[in-house]
């Protein structure tokens, strides 16, 4: 199986600011892992390091044994903002990676439409981003990532700008898609609840300097429905994260 990520003794310094200190982490193929922590804990930095968008100051990262020094086409990334090109329609936006890879967009168009249908955007292929709501735009961005079927998907607070209900729907949709394809997903969030709901494991991070405090297992059964929020196990896991983050007592 592909999609194993190994982070070995990785540190990152930005102009004398230690953004990340000695991270050691192994992510198994097909695992859903979240990075949770307050602002400045380096979670986005760690994500970008895994994605090859920045280079570590110390240590190394390997995907399936191969060192990551620059971005790879088999690692998909989703950002906090949809990053859709306003001059392209929904379909054209989704097909962007195919064009960049030098493949024939016409051949991929049917697959693109299928994915858009999967995320609930059927009929919106010819719409322009400005005509869509925030949730629809992020679903378009999600479709774009899914089109090339990468074994690893990195997501940097992709639903952070959405309202709670849309976010929940997107979480459920993401899990549904992930259940079928089982990519390795690394999900950055500052919502403890979201992390517990989605993940197999949670990497809890602290700040000053940015570092990993602990990695905890989420033992909730799958598939996860919204009912899971009622379970005592959900609450206790969430509180475990809380305590690690130091926000369990006010």
């Amino acid at each position: 199986m592909v999609g194993a990520i190994d982070v070995v003794k990785v540190g990152k310094v930005f102009s004398a600011v230690e953004a990340l200190r000695e991270v050691n982490l192994s992510i198994r193929p097909g695992e859903f892992v979240s990075f949770v922590g307050p602002s400045g804990c380096g979670k986005s930095t760690l994500l970008k390091l895994i994605g090859g968008l920045i280079e570590p100051s110390t240590g190394s990262i390997a995907v399936d044994g191969k060192a990551i020094t620059r971005p790879r086409r088999d690692i998909g990334i989703m950002f906090q903002t949809p990053v859709l090109f306003p001059w392209r329609t929904v379909l054209e936006n989704v097909l962007l990676p195919i064009e960049v890879f030098g493949l024939d967009p016409r051949a991929a168009a049917d697959k693109a439409r299928g994915i858009l249908k999967l995320v609930g955007l059927e009929g919106r292929e010819s719409a322009y981003p400005r005509e869509l709501s925030g949730g629809m735009q992020q679903r378009t961005a999600l479709s774009r990532v899914l089109l090339t079927d990468p074994p690893i998907i990195l997501m940097d607070e992709p639903f952070g700008a959405l309202d709670e209900f849309t976010r929940e729907r997107m979480n459920l949709e993401l899990l549904r898609i992930w259940q079928e394809r089982r990519q390795t997903i690394v999900f950055v969030t500052h919502s403890i609840a979201e992390a517990v709901f989605l993940s197999d494991r949670i990497v809890v991070m602290g700040t000053a300097p940015g570092r990993v405090l602990s990695v905890i297992d989420v033992k909730l059964p799958r598939p996860r429905t919204i009912e899971v929020l009622k379970t005592p196990q959900f609450g206790s896991t969430a509180f475990e994260v809380r305590e690690l983050l130091g926000v369990a007592h006010y």
């Binding site: 790879r72 990334i77 001059w87």
Partner: protein
């Protein structure tokens, strides 16, 4: 007011007189040539200047070193009142259309350069990260992202520069020219035919408006994703 004799006809002719002037202009067989002359100077200057300016902007964004060197000169050139260059251009390029085109280029050049640079540099950072994550080539990054991103800014610059090109052409014509609306204005001024001067001014204004409107239309077609109040 004029008729009542409050204002001398030399200062402000009566509207009816200006209307007579317009009629004279548009029925005269010598007029279309002048109108065409100025329009051609403006458009040729605008096109050449625009293309060179955009090209320069692109080079400046892609070659840091070149930008560091060239930028001070571009700014210095901009803050200089180009009108003082008109006599020099006439000396260099002669009394014909060439000097007017050069003047049009000189005066309309900078807004397009700066807007091209600003437009290309203000690409959304996450969009650049996205293209990097897809391992896009620099050429792909330019054509698929940077260039379309910069178009709204470039068009804003082009709209300004078109207006300025017209001014440049006219100013050069004022200095010395055999043909063109600017020539007509100076000639009629010397002849104290003030009503004809005003008529010409109206024609110039209408020309400016028409050209601007054309640009706005073009902008709406090409930069279709941006609805700004200034898109006309």
């Amino acid at each position: 007011m004029c008729r009542a004799g409050w204002v001398s006809a030399l200062v402000l002719p009566a509207p009816s007189r200006i209307w007579d002037g317009l009629v004279i202009l548009f029925t005269a067989d010598w007029f279309p040539q002048h109108l065409w002359y100025t329009t051609a100077e403006t458009l040729i200057g605008f096109f050449i200047g625009g293309i060179v300016a955009i090209a320069l902007g692109i080079v400046m964004v892609n070659a840091r070193v070149f930008k560091e060197i060239a930028y001070p000169y571009v700014v210095a050139f901009q803050v200089m009142p180009k009108v003082v260059l008109a006599p020099i251009f006439i000396t260099w390029f002669g009394f014909g259309m060439e000097s007017k085109v050069v003047m049009a280029i000189a005066i309309s050049f900078f807004p397009v350069v700066i807007n091209t640079v600003v437009g290309l540099e203000s690409v959304e950072e996450n969009a650049t990260l996205l293209m990097r994550s897809l391992v896009a080539t620099p050429s792909q990054h330019f054509w698929k992202l940077a260039w379309p991103s910069a178009l709204p800014s470039i068009f804003a610059g082009l709209k300004t520069s078109l207006t300025l090109a017209l001014i440049g052409a006219l100013v050069a014509e004022f200095v010395t020219a055999k043909e063109g609306l600017g020539t007509l204005i100076t000639t009629f001024s010397f002849e104290l035919k003030v009503y004809l001067v005003f008529a010409c001014v109206l024609v110039v204004s209408a020309l400016g408006l028409a050209l601007y409107g054309l640009m706005a239309l073009l902008e709406r077609k090409i930069v279709f994703w941006r609805r700004s109040r200034f898109t006309g």
